[in-house]
Every structure is written in structure tokens, then in C-alpha cells.
Amino acid sequence: MGAYLVRRLGLMLLTLFGISVIIFALLRLVPGNIVDILFDSAGMVDPKEKLKIMQDLGLDKSIPQQYLSWIGGLLRGDLGYSYVSEKPTLSEILPRLPITAKLAGMAIGFAVLIGVPLGVISAVRQNTWLDYALRVLSLSGLSMPSFWLGLLILMAFVATFGTLPIYTDPPKTLIDELLLLAVPAAAVGFRSSALIMRLTRSSMLEVLRQDFIRTARAKGASPAAVNFKHALRNAMLPVVTVIGIETAFLIGGLIVTETVFNIPGVARFLVEAIRWRDYPIVQNLVMFIAVVVVTVNFLVDMLYAVLDPRIKYSD
């Protein structure tokens, strides 16, 4: 187990190194840089002023020098300064992280709480009107883009309640914040819940046909015990994998949802930073997301052993 963990951690570091090179290179392959954009807002290009800014920001150095400077800073805990706001990168990212974390947590929570039970019900009531209704619901969730769903929700709120659940002022209490984030979390979590529902259903159907389920029923276990204790636990492995992957993919949905609901989180900030070619923000934020994804994957792998005692991580 110990050697496995060391190997996994080594692989994680290697993955993060690869991501750092890729994001660094990709950003520089995107046409234009911050200096071009700064002059765009001034509606002119002055070559002398442009060169001066390039020098100030270190963009006149060679690409390897820029990379080493960034990685060196990262290892020392110095994330540099945002090119746009000229504030420390950390002070730009940190206040936004909890907002997105709460939204992502609520979205995943919504997806699991809705997707898993409905998937079980759909499987247990296979080929009934309830199963058909839930399958239609899950299909609509998969096919509806979250920005469109978000806009529909906003329009419905204006038409019905005359108000809008968007973020205009920081909420005063945690309850206010959770209430404010509930609607966008549902909007972004709807797609994931549909995926989880469908996967839970198919996985459950497979397990429900297994011999040990028949045995459990034969020995007189209650339907709830059979479905949730015996079947669901065995059906959860692929579902947990998908939940892990969905957590990683959630950032895409959050970008759109944060934009539509005007939530000042890191996902929208990341897009803004890419638009501005704000390298320090983009590089460090992508690295942070990469660390989260790699860690979630690692935890999901560890969870397999907990869910299925047959799985052992040997040396």
C-alpha cells in the first residue's frame, strides 16, 4: 500500500508538471498578449510604450526564462501579480475560491441527491410510467445547455416573482449566500444529476440481476434493504467514478452559470483572465484546478477500496 501511494503521488507530481508545461505553452500560443489588449482599450498602439510595458512585465524575456521564473515563484509561494489589476495574484484568486467551491459543492450535492435516488427508483420501477418519466427528465437534463436553462430560470423569476436570483451584493449571512447559490447550483447540477441518474439506473439494473440479489430476496431481506444495502452499494463503483469526473468537468458548467447568474467566482474570473491574457492569474488558477482534479481522482481511487473490499492496492 505504501509503495502504491508513493507511486501515485509521484505520478500526480509528474501530471502536474506536464499540465504546467501545457498551460504555459498554450497560453503563449493564443494570439495576442496583455500588452496588445491594454493598447486595444486605448485604441492605439505606441511601439515605445508597448516595449516599455513588455519589459516591465517580463514579457520580453525568452519563453524558457519566463517558465522558470513562474515555476520558481510557484515553488517559493510567490504567485506574482495580476497584469490587469496589478494586485497580488493570490489576493485576486483567494476571495473568489470559496464562492466557486460552495457553488460546486452545492451543484455536486444537488446532482448526487437527485441523481442517485431517482436512478435507483427508475431501475427498481423499470418500464413503468415513473421510469419513462424519469428517463425523459434525465434526457432533457443531458440535452439542455446550462446557459439556456439559466436564462430560462432568470426569465421565469422575473415574470413570476418580479425579482432575480443574481449576485449583485455580497450576501450578509451564510444562509443568504446558500439561498442565493441554490438556484444556480441547481441549474449547473441538473446536467450532472441526469448523467448520474442514468448511470445509477443502468448499473442498478445490472446488479439487480445478479445471483446474490436473488439470494438476499430469498433469505427475506426487505426490498429497501435489497435495493439500497445490497444492490446500490455494488452499483456505486461506476457512479462514484462519474461523480469524480463530473466534479472535474463541473468547471465548464460553472463558467457559464457564473456568467449568467453574475456570480463573482473563479470560473468566470478565469475566462476573464484568459480574455485579458493575464498569464499569472490563468497559469496559477489552472494549476490550482489541476491539483483539485488530480486529488479528487486520487481520492476516488482510494474510495474504490472502501466501497468494494475485493479491491486491494498491493505493493
Binding site: 493564443v30 494570439p31 495576442g32 498578449n33 496588445d36 489588449i37 491594454l38 493598447f39 486595444d40 482599450s41 486605448a42 485604441g43 492605439m44 498602439v45 505606441d46 510604450e49 516599455k52 510595458i53 495580476s82 490587469v84 489589476s85 496589478e86 494586485k87 485576486e92 436564462l151 432568470l154 426569465m155 423569476f157 422575473v158 418580479g162 425579482t163 432575480l164 443574481i166 449583485t168 451584493d169 456568467t259 449568467v260 447568474f261 453574475n262 463573482p264 468566470r268 474570473f269 476573464e272 491574457r277
Partner: protein, 534 residues
């Protein structure tokens, strides 16, 4: 001097008549309340002097004062609507090459330091690129090329020395972009935390989130401003922003951001809102690289100008609301634009588009083009809807004269650089003009060597005429000269103006004494007269 004297008299009359020009009201202004406005995007910085975008001007104009300003209660900017601000009065010398301004006594910066004539000198040192505390970008440097020196002759008196007479100097000093900066604050700090003498103090600027200003209790204009503060929430998604305004989350839309289709939504869902559609001072124009064959051929350029159906552009893109015009904004909102009957005589402005296109086809045929030999061209434009949509219509118009265009959408960040490198043949561009004044429009957009003259068009004869009109102090005589220059620019296909855009601004009925300016969207956001009747 006589005419400059007249101008002073008119300005003083306007100054005295400030209360007269404000809309008559039954109620007295009430103190208090926060004005809530949504903002379309994150401004590049808070430094007005470094930027050339309404995204910076709108939220931060209230932090500053100018020496003089366009009367915030008058819709149309003109030399007649200029009133004193930090300057209490001004006077020209006998040969109109020295402008002396007396300054308000007892004015303090928001950090409590005293304001003096030295700050005015520092500001123009920065603007003229002569400061030890330089601006990172200086887009208005060309405005002050005729200013040879700015001197403080006392703590409350400053003199602008000019190389030649230039009555429009006052028009530029009155623009929203001509904020006075303090000597004691660095250019970097002004981008992050601006310090001004204006009616509102800067509180915070959260990138991608909001900007907040609070009432300056020590404002030198006693009793002003009426508002306790202004809060701008950044909502880049236009649909969300409009819905939020409809739901009453905001008191005002971001100025000039409501398009004609969106205006209909507001009219149906928030009928109480006051909305005004005005020219925004931004023209959509055709840029042609005159150095690249076959566009170095005047016939080809003229043919391209002749095929433009301006009415179709206006009908499609703004449901008929925008205006056809030449370089200067057309009347009645524009002060210097030529009359419609004169405009119709210019190439491509004839309402009989088929006649113009027949002439264009002849020119193309003369140069060897026809149905069997069509000219292929890339129409480059910024990859933004406003630009792209116009580019697509242009491609359709070019088809009528044997030119097959292909849209070349350019990533926004690369657009200015690409144009500056002349790495294009034909392009569709949008140009904003901060002040409805010929000096600004001509020197910035058509002047030899100007950085905002994207095509690098340079006609020495016309440049001499720019100078001649700039010196002229008689308004009517100058106007005729401006029309003549503008006609020549269009005849020369310098940068054919397709139309001058219009869009709307809406506010709730309880927002009082906000005046939307009709010939510039860059000069009317001091907000010191605005109050809320809630």
C-alpha cells in the same frame, strides 16, 4: 480676439445660466441614496488619462474634476455649453496663443492634500509625455500637440501656451477624458486607487465584480453631490443585465448599452423606465489598405465606396435608427456634420444605390474586373458581433461590383496590432470620437502620423486645411471649412463612414436630473446633479 471674447461671454453666460439650463423641476433635489448601475465589463484600469473607453469613463468620471466641463445639464456638447469647474474663469491673450485660467481656491484632493496650479501642470506634463511620473499609455497625447507649455504662475492661476491659436483647446479640456490628476500620486496608483477632487471618492474596484464610489463630504461645491454613492455591478452578460434592470435591481443601465431590440424588451416589461436613444459618437467605417494592390488604385477604392448601401446597413443593424453621415456626426445632434443635401452628393451617399453601383461596376470593368474575373478579398474585422455583422453586409454589397469577399474575423486582442502593421487589405472598423469637434476627429483619425489614424492616410494638403480650420475662430466660417474638408475626405475614400451608431440608455423614473448627452457618450457622467426621488 473679438470672437474669442464672444466665446468667453457665451461660456460665462452658460456658467451663469447653469440653473436655467437644467430641466425645470417641481421638486427640490433630495440628498441620499445609492445610485446602482450595471457595468458591461471590467474596465482596463481606473485611470481616465490612460484609457480610451467608456468602460473607464463612466464609473470614474465622478471621482475627478476638469478645469472646464461640458454643462452636465445640457444635451449637446459645444463650445457654448462649456462651463467652469476647477477653473473659475478663463481668458485668451491678444493673439489667442495663451489661455489663462483662474482656479478655485480651497479645493482639496480626496486624501486631504490641497489642490493647486502645480497639479494642473503635472497633469499636462503627463499628457504631453514630459513627466517623471509617466502614464503607461497616453492615447490623448495628440490632442495637446499644439500646447507648447503649461505654467503655474500662482497657486491659483495657470497658463496654457499654444504654438498657434486653437479655440478647440477648450473643447478638449472640457471632455470627460481631461481629468486633473494630483502631482503626489503615482500613475500606477491612479490605475488602482484614483484620487481626485470630484464629487465622489473612490472606495473599491473589484475586477470582474464591482466598483464603488462614495459621496465626498468635503466637495468644494457645497451641497453637492446629492447621492450618497454610486455602485457599479459588473454584469458582462447583456441578457442578465437587462433582466436585472427590468426586475428593479438597478436604477440605470450602463450608458448607451441598450440595443434597439433590447429596448423593445424594456419597453414591454418595464414600461415605467425612461429610455433615450441617442447617437453614441461611434462610427462604423470601411478601412482600405492603400498600399496593397489593387487597393492602391483609386478607382477600386472609389468603386468600393460607391457600392455601399448605407440605408441597408442602418435598417439591418439598428432597425433604421442610426444615421448616415460623413466624418463629423450629422445634425441635428452633431454640431459640425454637413447637411443631408450636401451629403447626398458624396460618393456612395446617393439614395439611388443602383445608379452608384452601375458607376462602380464601370470603374471595376475599366480595371479588368467583371463576372469572369472577380476580385477575391479578405474582409478583416474584429471578432465581435458589432464588427462581424457589418462585415457580412459589406461582403454582400461588394458582390455587386465583382468583388468576392471572405470574412476574416480577427481575435480582438490582435486587431489594433494587425491594423497598425497594415496586415490587411480591406477591413471593417468602429471608431469612437470623444468630443464632437473637428480638431479631435480630423487630427486623431485622418492626421498624418496619428496613431489612431488606422489606415495611415496622409494628405498634406488636407493636413494644412486641418490646421487652417483649427485656427479659425468664427464658428460659421469654420463650419464651412469643416464641411469642405469632410467632403474631400469622403471623395478621397480616406475611411468611408458607413453610419454613426445610436443606442439607448434607460433609467428608472425616480432618477432625477440625469442628462444624456447627444453628441458624445464620453462626457456626461459627473453625476453631481443626479438625485433619487425614492
Amino acid at each position: 480676439m473679438r470672437l474669442f471674447g464672444k466665446l468667453i461671454a457665451i461660456a460665462c453666460a452658460a456658467m451663469g445660466g447653469l440653473s436655467v439650463t437644467l430641466p425645470s423641476r417641481a421638486e427640490e433635489p433630495k440628498q441620499g441614496g445609492i445610485l446602482r448601475i450595471y457595468h458591461r465589463d471590467t474596465p482596463p484600469s481606473a485611470s481616465i488619462l490612460e484609457e480610451a473607453t467608456i468602460s473607464t469613463i463612466v464609473p470614474f468620471m465622478g471621482v475627478f474634476n476638469n478645469l472646464v466641463i461640458y454643462n452636465q445639464g445640457v444635451e449637446q456638447n459645444s463650445l457654448q455649453s462649456i462651463v467652469p469647474e476647477l477653473a473659475t474663469s478663463w481668458a485668451w491673450n491678444a493673439d489667442n496663443t495663451m489661455l489663462t485660467l483662474k482656479l478655485q481656491p480651497g479645493v482639496k484632493w480626496h486624501d486631504d492634500k490641497p489642490f493647486s496650479a502645480k497639479d494642473v501642470v503635472c497633469t499636462w506634463d503627463m499628457l504631453r509625455g514630459k513627466s517623471a511620473n509617466p502614464l503607461r499609455k497616453n492615447p490623448r497625447e495628440p490632442w495637446y500637440q499644439n500646447v507648447s507649455d503649461v505654467t503655474a504662475i500662482a497657486d491659483d492661476e495657470v497658463v496654457f501656451k499654444l504654438s498657434r491659436p486653437q479655440p478647440s483647446l477648450l473643447a478638449m479640456l472640457a471632455a470627460g477624458y481631461s481629468a486633473i490628476y494630483p502631482c503626489h500620486v503615482s500613475a500606477r496608483d491612479m490605475r488602482l486607487h484614483p484620487i481626485g477632487t470630484g464629487p465622489f471618492k473612490f472606495v473599491e474596484f473589484k475586477s470582474g465584480e464591482s466598483m464603488k464610489l462614495t459621496r465626498n463630504p468635503d466637495y468644494w461645491r457645497k451641497g453637492k453631490p446629492y447621492l450618497d454613492g454610486i455602485e457599479y455591478t459588473i454584469i458582462p452578460n447583456r441578457s442578465t443585465a437587462i433582466l436585472a434592470f427590468i426586475a428593479g435591481k438597478f436604477d440605470m443601465t450602463f450608458p448607451t448599452e441598450v440595443t434597439v431590440p433590447l429596448l423593445k424588451d424594456i419597453a414591454s416589461q418595464a414600461p415605467q423606465a425612461i429610455c433615450k436613444t441617442v447617437p453614441i459618437g461611434v462610427s462604423t467605417n470601411l478601412i482600405v489598405n492603400r498600399e496593397v494592390p489593387p487597393f492602391n488604385n483609386a478607382d477600386i477604392r472609389r468603386a468600393m465606396a460607391l457600392t455601399i448601401d448605407r440605408k441597408q446597413f442602418i435598417d439591418i443593424l439598428s432597425e433604421g435608427k442610426s444615421d448616415a453621415g460623413a466624418a463629423m456626426l450629422p445634425p441635428p445632434e452633431g454640431v459640425w456634420g454637413m447637411p443631408a443635401e450636401m451629403l447626398r452628393t458624396l460618393p456612395g451617399y446617393d439614395p439611388d444605390v443602383e445608379k452608384s453601383r452601375a458607376e462602380a461596376r464601370k470603374l471595376m470593368e475599366k480595371n479588368g474586373y467583371g463576372n469572369s474575373n472577380r476580385l477575391k478579398v479578405k474582409v478583416s474585422t474584429r471578432n465581435i458581433a458589432q464588427y462581424r455583422d457589418a462585415g457580412v453586409i459589406l461582403i454582400d454589397h461588394l458582390k455587386h461590383i465583382y468583388i468576392d469577399g471572405e470574412l476574416d474575423p480577427v481575435e480582438s486582442a490582435n486587431w489594433d496590432g494587425k491594423v497598425a502593421r497594415k496586415d490587411y487589405s480591406v477591413g471593417m472598423n468602429l471608431t469612437g470620437t470623444a468630443v464632437d469637434d473637428p480638431d479631435v476627429a480630423f487630427y486623431e483619425n485622418y492626421g498624418c502620423g496619428s496613431q489612431r489614424n488606422y489606415t495611415q492616410y496622409c494628405n498634406r494638403d488636407l493636413q494644412a486645411q486641418f490646421d487652417k480650420q483649427s485656427v479659425e475662430t468664427n464658428f460659421d466660417a469654420r463650419k464651412k471649412m469643416v464641411w469642405d474638408i469632410d467632403s474631400k475626405l469622403q471623395e478621397d475614400i480616406a475611411r468611408p463612414i458607413i453610419f454613426h451608431g445610436r443606442s439607448a440608455t434607460c433609467w428608472q423614473p425616480y432618477v432625477k436630473d440625469f442628462t444624456l448627452m447627444v453628441n458624445s457618450s464620453y462626457n456626461g457622467y459627473r453625476f453631481e446633479n443626479v438625485w433619487l426621488n425614492k
